[in-house]
């Protein structure tokens, strides 16, 4: 009886699809991560889901020193999406490492730190600092945030600047893989993805938010005090998916898909289009366990479609003849 149980269990295990993916030598137990700025420092969600169920957590964009952020109103909901202009409010890298990272280390989930900066040196400083902190799996260089007056966004306006900041950052964090998070507010994302690859980036995250705006027609005032904000959520999924697909055609380094992923099906679209992993963003707000559900859903899909290894799915899109 017990033997039979063990045998069955073994069969099951053999049948269980392999969900792990690798990005720049780092193994993620599954391809579902949470997107920066939408999952706090991770621990905020510990009561609402099993943090161990997902591949990784990308924490809120960090600078060396704390940043206050923009005055409110900072967010506004739109059709199937939301605008935000948080403006890089964060507790600073030191505080993160002392107050948050130890808690995160209790989980078997990879921690990726998103880093922000106004100028080149800001990025380098924080990259160097984090390079030596145990418990961090990778850095994600955020050069694509539209919500600060003169933020790193200008590094994402032409591929040369993207190259420059990436190359410098790569030097500053030799121990850690470097991901670069790209802006969709460009004419051709391929150029930027290529610039990152050429500069030594280990992966690109595609996409950050699209710049948008909303107006209160009674007050005739912008809905956000910052005037414009970043659009995220299901509304932008088709754009994100297209850009991920384009980036995958342009570079050989892994592409991580972000933008409007809320359900298992969304994640599948990105993986099939070529993303090595996905990040769940805005969905965390209205469904705190969205990432866990998606991780489970992917496994279920693989099982029911006889896919032994999730990597078979990556880039498996077959276009019409």
């Amino acid at each position: 009886m017990q033997l039979k149980y063990i045998m069955n269990r073994k069969k099951e295990l053999l049948k269980a699809p392999r969900m792990a993916v690798e990005i720049a030598g780092v193994r993620f137990k599954n391809p579902v991560l949470t997107a920066s700025g939408t999952f706090g420092y991770g621990l905020e969600f510990a009561n609402l889901m099993d943090l161990n169920s997902i591949g990784g957590i990308v924490v809120k964009g960090l600078s060396m020193k704390p940043i206050k952020g923009n005055p409110p109103p900072r967010i506004y909901e739109t059709a199937s999406g939301m605008l935000n202009a948080i403006g890089w409010q964060n507790i600073g890298a030191t505080e993160f490492v002392t107050a948050k990272l130890p808690g995160l280390r209790n989980y078997e989930t990879k921690v990726i730190v998103n880093i922000v900066g106004f100028e080149l040196n800001d990025y380098l400083e924080v990259a160097r600092f984090l390079n030596d902190c145990p418990g961090i799996a990778a850095l994600e260089l955020n050069i694509s945030c539209p919500n600060v007056e003169k933020g790193g966004f200008h590094f994402n306006k032409n591929p040369k600047d993207t190259y420059k900041v990436t190359a410098a950052a790569k030097k500053a964090c030799r121990k850690l893989p470097l991901w670069v998070k790209l802006s969709p507010n460009v004419t051709d994302i391929r150029e930027f993805a290529r610039a990152c690859e050429d500069a030594g980036a280990d992966a690109v995250s595609v996409i950050n938010t699209l710049v948008g705006m909303a107006v209160d027609v009674e007050k005739r005032q912008p809905r956000l005090r910052f005037l414009t904000g970043g659009l995220s959520g299901p509304a932008i999924k088709p754009i994100a998916l297209r850009m991920v697909w384009e980036a995958c055609q342009a570079v050989k380094i892994p592409v991580i898909g972000v933008g409007g992923i809320a359900r298992t099906e969304d994640a599948l679209e990105f993986l099939i289009a070529g993303a090595r992993a996905v990040q769940v963003g805005t969905a965390n707000f209205y469904r705190p366990d969205a990432s866990q559900r998606i991780a489970l859903g992917l496994q279920e899909y693989c099982r029911s479609h006889n896919i032994e290894d999730i990597n078979e799915l990556v880039g498996s899109l077959h276009a019409y003849e």
Binding site: G37, T38, F39, G40, E44, F45, N47, L48, K60, K68, G69, P71, P72, P73, R74, I75, Y76, E77, A79, S80, G81, M82, N84, I86, Q89, R225, G233, P234, A262, R263, T282, N284, F285, Y286, R287, P288, D289
Partner: protein, 279 residues
């Protein structure tokens, strides 16, 4: 804090776009302190619009008739937009996602009664929501609550009978004079405080920004502590999105931002930068 699917028990139309929503959320009802709020998904399906949940304060806990144990939540909801409209149009038996209780409510402690004689509860319209449970808590500590409740017209002064049943002193104002005194709620409050200068009165306010600012000023003038319950657009209520902040002016004139969902929604009114409305 729990995230649960709960059943709508009833939706009662109170007039003037106000509704009393009763949720079968016994498990969560047991955890509540006055002034805390819940995030409701305003639709049954999680990926429908509006995407984001909406925050609502608990007005009251309803209890099992016999055991007196918490059975559910009563929320006062004013229909002001897409989300609230969908919510109040739901039918008994429908399911919504309900996350909470969230936030820091009012802090009413046993030692307060030594310092505080009396409490002025000031509400503008639907701002009445957090004050009923607060009034009950204060009375349990033998602190006498007095209600100041203003609205545009008589029909905006919803649920006032709950307070009257507690035996509280009540002061009503309406802009159109259709009920109580004509004018702003701060007028009777100002007179009340003026008559009782140098007494240990504590002020609590919830309502439109301008009203709370006025109450804050009156309190400051009287050197009274005033707690306000603020509103802000919320993305998550978990402290993660940083969307719900209010601007704080610290004594050194430096400003910074606190999250209404975590550090609030109740704040000492002296902390607030009243020049920067968060909504």
């Amino acid at each position: 804090m729990l995230d649960r699917k709960v059943k709508i028990k009833s939706v009662r139309d109170l007039g003037s776009n106000n509704y009393l929503l009763t949720l079968n959320a016994a498990e969560q009802a047991r955890l509540i302190r006055p002034g805390q709020f819940f995030m409701l998904k305003c639709v049954e399906e999680v990926d429908e619009n509006p995407l984001l949940r909406r925050p609502f304060t608990v007005f009251n806990i309803c209890r099992h008739a016999r055991s007196g144990r918490p059975a559910g939540l009563e929320l006062l909801i004013k229909d002001v937009g897409t989300g609230t409209r969908k919510l109040v149009r739901m039918k008994p038996g429908q399911i919504i996602h309900c996350l909470g209780p969230q936030g820091n409510g009012f802090k009413v402690s046993a030692e307060m009664k030594n310092r505080v004689e009396m409490a002025c509860l000031v509400a503008g319209g639907v701002g009445i929501a957090p004050l009923y449970m607060l009034a009950q808590d204060l009375m349990r500590q033998n602190i006498k609550p007095v209600l100041f409740y203003g609205g545009a017209g008589a029909s905006d002064l919803v649920l006032r009978e709950y307070f009257e049943k507690l035996g509280m002193d009540t002061n009503y104002t309406t802009m159109d004079g259709s009920f109580g005194e004509r004018g702003l709620v701060t007028e009777p409050l100002a007179r009340f405080l003026h008559k009782r200068a140098h007494r240990n009165i504590r002020v609590y306010a919830c309502g439109p920004w301008g009203m709370m600012q006025a109450v804050h000023k009156l309190s400051e003038r009287g050197k009274l502590q005033c707690d306000v319950s603020l509103e802000a657009r919320m993305g998550c209520s978990l402290g993660a999105c940083l969307g719900c902040v209010v601007r704080i002016k610290d004594p050194h004139g430096e400003d910074r931002y606190l999250r209404v969902c975590q550090e609030g929604p109740v704040f000492d009114s002296r902390l607030i930068d009243w020049e920067t409305e968060p909504v």
